[in-house]
Subunit: 358 residues, 2 copies
C-alpha cells in the first residue's frame, strides 16, 4: 500500500508508531515497528541529549530501516513563585499519600531543545517530528540540508496551514481521540478538540503536503477510514502501548487493557498542558484544585516525584496513564503482529468495500 508519503519516508506500510514520550517507546519497540515495515518513533521530548544519542544507537543496533525522533518545541513559561508554592502545598497531600518526602522547591528547568536538535542532526536521523509549536527556520532549513524528513503536528486547519508554510514535509492531524499531550499551539488546546473524522478531510482540503491521521486509530478499520478521509498514513499510539516491546509500566498496561472508550479525559493535572489519559485519583483530585495549575513544563517538573513514586509502588492512581479513546481495541500483540494484522485487515476490508460498490 504505497502512498507519496511512504515513498518519501522509505517505508513499506503507511503506519507510524506514535512517539509516546516518557517510557513506552523503547529501542525494541521502535525497531520492531520499523522492521515490520512501518515507522518506529522515539518520543524524546523528556530525554537528555545524551539519552537521545544512546537511544538512537540502540535503535540502529536493531534495525537498519528508517525511524523517527520526536521533540517538544519549548514554550515561554512565566509562572510566579506564589503559584508554584500553592501547587507544591497541594501536591504534598499526594506525596503524603504515597509516603514520599514533601517538596517546596521551585524546579530548576534547563532548556535543552537546541542540544536535542543537535543530536538529531549529528546522528542524521531519517525522520524528525515535533509537537507543541514550530521550530525556528534555522532548524527547519538545517534539517532539510541533512535530508531529514520533517513532520509537524496540527490540531486545527489553521495550525496545519502555518506548519505547511514553514516547510514541513508532512503534517500529523491529531484528532480529539488521541492519547497523550495535545499538540495544539494556537489558541486554547481545549477549543481544538476536533474529532479525527471531522479534522482530517478539512485539513486535507487546505494543505498540499501529505497528512498523517492520529486519534482513535487502532486497527485496519481505522487505517482504511483514515485513507478514505484523505490521509497518507496513520499514526497509532495506544495500539502499541501494551506490546511486549513497549516500555510502559506493567500496571499502566494493565489499566489500558481494562479501560473503555469513556475512561479517558483531557487533563492538565500532570504536566500543565492538556493531555488525554485514563481517569484516576490524581486527575480527579486535581479537578478541584482551587488555583491555577502552573503551565508546562513547570507542573510536569512538580509532579515528577509523585509519578516516579507511584511507578515504584505499582500504584496506577498517581501515574500519568496516557491513552486514547480507542482503548478497548488495544491488544497484547507484538509490534510486528500489530503492523501485520492492521495491513491484512485493511486489505480485506478494501476488498469487501469494493464488492459492495458494484
Amino acid at each position: 500500500m504505497e502512498t507519496a508519503l511512504t515513498q518519501k519516508l522509505n517505508i513499506q506500510y503507511p503506519i507510524i508508531q506514535a512517539p509516546m514520550a516518557g517510557g513506552p517507546t523503547t529501542p525494541e519497540l521502535i525497531a520492531a515497528v520499523s522492521n515490520a515495515g512501518g515507522l518506529g518513533s522515539l518520543g524524546a521530548g523528556y530525554l537528555t541529549p545524551e539519552q537521545i544519542r544512546e537511544a538512537i544507537k540502540e535503535i540502529r543496533k536493531r534495525t537498519n530501516r528508517p525511524f523517527g525522533v520526536n521533540l517538544f518545541v519549548p514554550e515561554q513559561t512565566d509562572v510566579s513563585e506564589d503559584i508554584i508554592e500553592k501547587m507544591n502545598n497541594y501536591l504534598n497531600e499526594s506525596r503524603t499519600e504515597l509516603g514520599i518526602s514533601l517538596n517546596s522547591l521551585t524546579p530548576d528547568l534547563k532548556e535543552t531543545f537546541k542540544e536535542q536538535v543537535q543530536v538529531v542532526l549529528e546522528e542524521n536521523v531519517p525522520v524528525f517530528s515535533f509537537t507543541f509549536g514550530i521550530p525556528s527556520q534555522n532548524i527547519i532549513q538545517e534539517m532539510k540540508q541533512h535530508g531529514i524528513v520533517i513532520i509537524g503536528t496540527a490540531t486545527t486547519v489553521e495550525e496545519g496551514i502555518q506548519l505547511e508554510a514553514t516547510g514541513v514535509d508532512a503534517i500529523v492531524a491529531q484528532g480529539s481521540e488521541a492519547g497523550g499531550h495535545r499538540g495544539a499551539f494556537l489558541g486554547n488546546a481545549n477549543d481544538a478538540l476536533i474529532g479525527t473524522m471531522a479534522l482530517l478531510p478539512q485539513l486535507v482540503d487546505h494543505v498540499a503536503v501529505p497528512v498523517i491521521a492520529a486519534g482513535g486509530i487502532m486497527d485496519g478499520r481505522g487505517l482504511v477510514a483514515s485513507l478514505a478521509l484523505g490521509a497518507s498514513a496513520v499514526q497509532m499510539g495506544t495500539a502499541f502501548l501494551v506490546c511486549p516491546e513497549s516500555g510502559a509500566h506493567v500496571v499502566y498496561k494493565g489499566k489500558v487493557m481494562t479501560s473503555s472508550e469513556d475512561s479517558t479525559e483531557i487533563t492538565y493535572a500532570y504536566s500543565g498542558k492538556a493531555a488525554r489519559g485514563i481517569r484516576n485519583d490524581f486527575i480527579n483530585k486535581m479537578r478541584f484544585y482551587p488555583g491555577i495549575i502552573p503551565a508546562y513544563p513547570i507542573q510536569n517538573a512538580l509532579t515528577r516525584d509523585i509519578r516516579q513514586a507511584a511507578a515504584k509502588a505499582n500504584n496506577p492512581e498517581y501515574m500519568s496513564l496516557w491513552a486514547g479513546q480507542g482503548v478497548r481495541l488495544a491488544k497484547e500483540l507484538t509490534a510486528s503482529d500489530i503492523v501485520k494484522q492492521t495491513m491484512e485487515q485493511a486489505a480485506a476490508l478494501i476488498e469487501r468495500l469494493n464488492k459492495t460498490r458494484n
Copy 2:
C-alpha cells in the same frame, strides 16, 4: 451500495438525514432526501402531536418513499423555583439586549411524549428514532407490531448494549463531532465525548444490530470511512443544514457557511442539555453564569423567547446555531445533489482505494 440496514429501511443509499429538531427538517427537505434514495427524518421532539401529524401529511404529499420521525424520550426534571428565578434574572440581561419583555415565569411544561408516540403509531411512520433515553417496552413492542423500524441513539458502548437489549433494530453511534444535542443517557454527557473514529469500531464490536455513524460525516469520504469502521449507514446533519430545502434561518445558514472546525463547542446554555453549536455571545455569556443552569427541558423553555426574538431580529448571537465539527465542508447544494455527490464520491474513493491495495 446495499447493506442489511438499507434493505431493512427499504432505501437505496446508506444515507440518513439527521432529525434536526427546531426547524431545519421541513417536509421539503425530508421528502427530497427520501426521493433521492436516502432516508429523510423529521426532528419532531419539539412539535405538538398535531404538528407532527400535519408534517407527516406534508411529507407524504411529496414522497411515497420511507422516512423517519424522531422524538425525545422525556426525562425526570426537578428544578427548584429558586434556580429558575436566578436564571430568569440572568436571562433578563439578554432580553433587555434584544428589546423584549422581561420574564420571571416558571415555564408550564406539558409532557406530550405519549401523544407524540400515538401519532407515529397511527400514521404508521416507516421509521421511528429516538434520543435522550429509552422508551418503555410497551412503546417498543407496539412499534414492532406496527412493523415500524426502531432506531436508538448511543454515545458510548454501554448505551449501545442497553439499547440493543430493548429490541431496537439499529443504533446511531453519535460521535463527539456531531452537532446539536448529545444523545447521552447514561452518566454525564460530557464524559461521553467519544470521537466517531474511536466510537464506531468499539460499538460495532459489542452489538449485533446495524450501527449508523453520526458525527463529522459530510461527504463521500466520511461515508466510506464510516463503512470501513463497521457502520451500515451514516447520519448526516450539518451537511443538509444549508440546503435550500432546509428550514434553518437564513442567518443561521450564513453562520454555518462562514464557520470553521473549531467554531463550535458543547454548551448547556440554550436547553440545559449538552449540545454542540457555533459559539456566539449567548454561549459566551452563559459560560460565566454564577449558578446552576436548570436542566432540560426547563432551560429550553426559559430561553425560548430569547431565541425567537433573535430569529425575528436576524441576530445570530442569541440563536442556537447547532452544527457539527465538519462545518467547513457544508455546501449550498440541494438535498438531492448532496445524496448524489456523496454516493458518487464514495464509489470513486473505493475504486481508488482498491487500486492502492494491489
